[in-house]
């Protein structure tokens, strides 16, 4: 094998070209990492939203709670289904919820924006067990009070004590909650009846969330309700429901990879050009190595290593640059709802971006390395 010092020092000698080519990889890989971290963040927020013991019910034909509408008799019937867990007082662990996207006009500025408001009853806090208060207190039944998810607080800079004009009333923020990064953190929670009366939805619910004893029990409960002849509802375990929501990002994921491959082609041609130029300048050295007895495959390998070296250096900086986006929070519309998420750079993304960079380096380096391998020593030395 041709010593690695040969490749390393050649890269060093033409450091400007090396760095320029590597910089191409840096930009491509950074863009890829950021795009993947964006999608990963959304998916993580969706996945975190689901508790495996919970079954979410929607009106028949609806896959999203934004459009779902269930009436009280139906809700009362499903709450008492077999397999629903009960609390100490023997009441079923069921959370009736009304989910609305409402207009809100901030006091300063005249632009409206949407807020996602979920009206719940006290049972909601037993069903959604991962939700807990960060500061302040929970809203009181019958009062125009809301607690806000920490995503909402981050996006809109709301504080406890602020009032929000929602519908015809002023609502006071009384607490901030978190929910392990779940989609709930992008919502305002308030008293169900207060919200329903404000928007004339008395007796109507978007969804009912039933809690089973075990994840297995939740699967069975959802299956039973889906196939039930007496009730007509859509029933999914929460993880499956949010997984379906996350699947809306599939198209984005495909687009991200298509963009990455096109940008990657740019980097690929960059390294190809650099390596062809290098081989043109070093054909006599290649000839000497062949004459000394280095086999053609050693030359191939040597030039591939050089291309991979450029890709690895550029790719590493790209990963580092892309990783700087880790934890940055943004809001994103997913279907009819908005979700607050944090860019999430994790191990698989780093590995994926690394492999992508090396693959581009390998493909870009292959043709020049093949041409180096085919250098005819006697002709090159002439």
């Amino acid at each position: 094998m041709v010593p690695l010092a040969y490749n390393y020092r050649n890269l060093q000698v033409r450091w400007k070209t090396t760095l320029m080519t590597a910089f191409g990889f840096t930009l491509v890989v950074a863009a890829l990492v950021i795009m993947l971290a964006f999608l990963n963040g959304i998916e993580a927020a969706c996945i975190a939203s689901g508790e495996p013991e919970n079954v979410i019910l929607l009106s028949k034909g609806n896959q999203d709670e934004v459009l779902s509408q269930m009436e009280r008799p139906l809700v009362a019937q499903v709450e008492n289904s077999k397999g629903v867990a009960v609390d100490a007082a023997g009441r079923p662990l069921a959370s009736r919820e009304l989910f609305l996207a409402v207009h809100h006009r901030p006091p300063e500025g005249d632009e409206f924006h949407f807020l996602q408001v979920r009206g719940v009853l006290p049972a909601a806090f037993r069903v959604h067990s991962q939700l807990h208060l960060l500061s302040g207190r929970t809203f009181r039944p019958g009062q125009s009070e809301v607690m806000i998810g920490k995503g909402v607080q981050r996006t809109h800079h709301f504080q406890i004590g602020d009032t929000l004009e929602i519908g015809r009333k002023q609502w006071q923020i009384v607490g901030v909650f978190e929910s392990r990064g779940a989609a709930f953190e992008s919502e305002l929670w308030c008293d169900l009846n207060e919200l329903a009366s404000q928007f004339r939805r008395d007796g109507l619910y978007s969804t009912v969330v039933l809690r089973a004893e075990t994840p297995q029990g939740a699967e069975e409960l959802a299956e039973r309700l889906r196939n039930s002849r007496s009730v007509s509802v859509e029933a999914l375990t929460e993880p499956k429901y949010y997984q379906k929501q996350a699947e809306q990002t599939r198209l984005l994921q495909t687009a991200a990879w298509v963009i990455a491959w096109f940008m990657g082609l740019g980097a690929l041609f960059g390294v190809m050009n650099t390596q062809f130029a290098a081989i043109g300048q070093r054909s006599k050295e290649i000839a000497v190595l062949r004459i000394l007895g280095f086999p053609a495959r050693a030359i191939l390998l040597s030039f591939l290593i050089e291309a991979l070296g450029i890709a690895a250096v550029g790719g590493s900086f790209g990963v580092a640059l892309g990783a700087a986006a880790n934890g940055v929070t943004r809001s994103f519309s997913l279907g009819a709802r908005s979700i607050d998420f944090a860019f999430r750079v994790d191990g698989p993304i780093v590995v994926c971006a690394g492999i992508f960079a090396l693959l581009m380096g390998l493909l870009g380096g292959l043709l020049p390395a093949l041409s180096a391998m085919r250098v005819k020593p006697l002709e090159a030395l002439r």
Partner: protein
């Protein structure tokens, strides 16, 4: 000439095609070279002397005829086996030195040893010995650009020597050096032949360089036309039929 020659060239011809035209570079070359001989190949430009050197050194294959080296028919070997054989059997010295500019003198000399199955310690011993033989022990870590032309050629000779090959081929090794440096390089090659019993095959235009050899072969138009032993006083002139 010893009873068992190191190199036997038997009726060798070399031709190239340039488009539809056939170019005959060597024809009917018959030659034996004894081990530890110092042979100079001379002749005008384009006469075929470098081609003959390349064939004997296993860098090219004859169009017809056969070449043996130490009993092995190298004209039958495929490219990979020929490359392995070259590493062990032949050291190369070039006119323009052809050192790898980014490697130090030590690393340049070590290159051929990387192809052999040697320990790092053994490699180090051999590299140091080769550089010591050419008088460059003090220049181990200098890169070619930091060495004079004469020193670079010494590194080239050390690289040719380091695998302890039986044959050292040198194509115009003094062509890029001044008179004084040329003399030093020729002294060195001569001492390798005399003290280490290396067989030297030298291609040169320079009569002074050829005069160092024990035997001079003149090639003209692809044919060996003269074989002169410099020290025995023998003089042979061959007239090959030009076809």
């Amino acid at each position: 000439m010893s009873a068992q020659p190191l190199i036997v060239v038997d009726n060798v011809a070399k031709e190239y095609m340039r488009g539809s035209e056939r170019i005959v570079v060597l024809r009917d070359v018959n030659l034996e070279i004894a081990a530890a001989d110092f042979v100079a190949l001379i002749g005008p430009s384009g006469s075929g002397k470098t081609t003959l050197l390349n064939l004997i050194a296993g860098l090219d294959q004859p169009t017809s005829g056969r070449i043996w080296f130490d009993g092995l028919e190298i004209s039958k070997l495929d490219e990979a086996r020929l490359a392995r054989w070259r590493t062990n059997a032949v050291g190369f010295v070039f006119q323009f030195f052809h050192l790898i500019p980014v490697l130090t003198a030590y690393e340049n000399v070590e290159l051929p040893l990387l192809l052999l199955n040697l320990t790092a310690r053994r490699r180090r011993e051999q590299v140091l010995m080769a550089l010591d033989l050419v008088g460059l022990s003090h220049r181990l870590h200098h890169r070619p650009g930091q060495l004079s032309g004469g020193e670079q050629q010494r590194v080239g000779i050390a690289r040719a020597l380091v695998t302890d090959p039986k044959l050292i081929v040198a194509d115009e090794p003094t062509g890029d050096l001044d008179h004084v440096k040329s003399g030093e390089i020729l002294d060195l090659l001569q001492s390798l032949q005399q003290e280490l019993q290396k067989t030297i095959l030298l291609v040169t235009h320079d009569p002074a360089a050829a005069a160092r050899a024990r035997r001079v072969l003149r090639i003209d138009k692809g044919t060996l036309v003269e074989d002169r032993s410099m020290h025995s006083g023998r003089f042979r002139l061959f007239e090959w039929t030009v076809q």
